[in-house]
Point group: C2
Chain length 265, copies 2
């Protein structure tokens, strides 16, 4: 199975994109809702949770890991890559490569949680591929709670988005990376506010496409992941709003399986 | 020591009120930031975290527990009371008693997180003391993230507050309980929006006053809690915004001590 983890249900936007790009493969998802959100937690704590999530996925049959959480991808990718003998994908690099290939004026905007933006991972990764380009980043910590409340079309959400996007628009970015898995659910509000000339990069599609290419070239890996059952969606806590968000992302009823944690918290 | 726990640093409004009411007693605080917020998590998960926090406080010398988190108080008070041989206080009952004593028209409003409001604990507790009174409650899940962002005076915060408070104002409540420890930080915006004729009840002061009366009547307990050192503020994770919020609540620099968790997450 393809193992995917996130701090909550937002990473299901990535699971959905992978499901669409690779319908013949089986997925197992783990949403760490008992510790959600990661965006406001420290590097050390996020690394510990990421190891825990990877252990869970591998012990349940995953042969490949996708880190579908930008906060975890930005601070814990090396931790996972170095400690587990399986291919590891994450949501940042594919979006960075796509943004670098897209920008014309070499002015790229990035929005994300506080943890992702403070880590400056996008700035560093873009600089590696496209030296001399300018990256303007903006932490948008209120967007995740707004999405999780279902305030997708409320006036306050639009005002808060404008407050976050205005500085990027003034910098005339021509490409905007959605550096958080919840943000694709606000893309219909983001695109008109950042301007229709700006290319908005959705990292869930970018990682799904890279994964598809990888599996085409590595049939020996691909055959260990092939579908022999339903996709599984585990979470470490079940709450009414998580069920609502999950169903909303997939546009169908998702059966959330509760994983019981045994150790002390 | 008086042990106080909360899901994060919001409960420091309670610690501060106790510090002011009982300056001769020593406090130990535990903010479970590694699992924050509790408001969106399940009853079972909140109970597990509450036992964990109580274990921490008792093993560090606390002889009395104050549950300074409304979400934990609403679902885990019995769990803590039944399993530990120490006096347990929490933020709900004192506020309920004060609201019942204050209301003239027997119409009380309650605002809180989704977990607190769904538990209907305020409705039940008020009904016990003041049968036949009417309680109107409103979940305000965006207020905690707004406070933690420091958006204390932003236009969006005022609009969101109006959206939350309008239904309570239409019901003409004469008393409003702030059922979340973060909300006292917004009291200057809440009071004018709910109306100056409405008494706003801050649970941190209510619990501090009950604790003061209890210790006056129980000198044998009081003497085990007396000051012989600095107050201690532990957290299970340290983040820039938690430090900022803690300093803001106390209006002075607070030294946050990191508690290292040993078990798997």
């Amino acid at each position: 199975m393809i193992g995917i983890f996130d701090s909550g249900v937002g990473g299901m936007t990535v699971a959905k994109a992978i499901e669409e790009a690779l319908p013949d493969f089986r997925l197992i998802y783990f949403g760490d809702l008992a510790h959600s959100p990661y965006g406001s937690k420290s590097r050390e704590t996020i690394c510990r949770y990421s190891r825990h999530n990877t252990d869970f996925l591998l012990s349940h049959g995953a042969k490949l890991i996708v880190i579908a959480c930008n906060s975890a991808a930005s601070v814990a990718t090396r931790e996972v890559t170095d400690n587990y003998p399986v291919p590891v994908f994450e949501v940042i690099s594919p979006a960075v490569r796509l943004a670098a290939a897209t920008t014309r004026q070499q002015k790229i905007g990035v929005i994300g949680t506080r943890a992702t933006i403070s880590s400056a991972v996008y700035d560093r990764e873009i600089e590696k591929i496209l030296p001399g380009s300018r990256v303007f980043s903006q932490a948008c910590p209120l967007l995740v709670p707004l999405v999780e409340e279902g305030w997708i079309n409320k006036r306050e959400t639009k005002m808060i988005l404008r407050r976050y996007l205005d500085p990027l628009q003034r910098r005339q970015v021509d490409t905007l990376v959605l550096g958080c898995t919840h943000y694709p659910l606000l893309k219909h509000l983001i695109q008109p506010r950042i301007g229709k000339q700006v290319t908005v990069i959705d990292s869930s599609h970018a990682v799904a496409e890279e994964l598809r290419l990888f599996l085409e070239q590595r049939p020996e890996v691909a055959k260990t992941l092939q579908k022999d059952g339903e996709n599984l969606y585990y979470v470490s806590d079940v709450t009414p709003s998580s069920q609502k968000t999950a169903d909303f992302i997939f546009n169908r009823k998702i059966k959330l399986l509760k994983y019981e944690e045994h150790s002390g918290g």
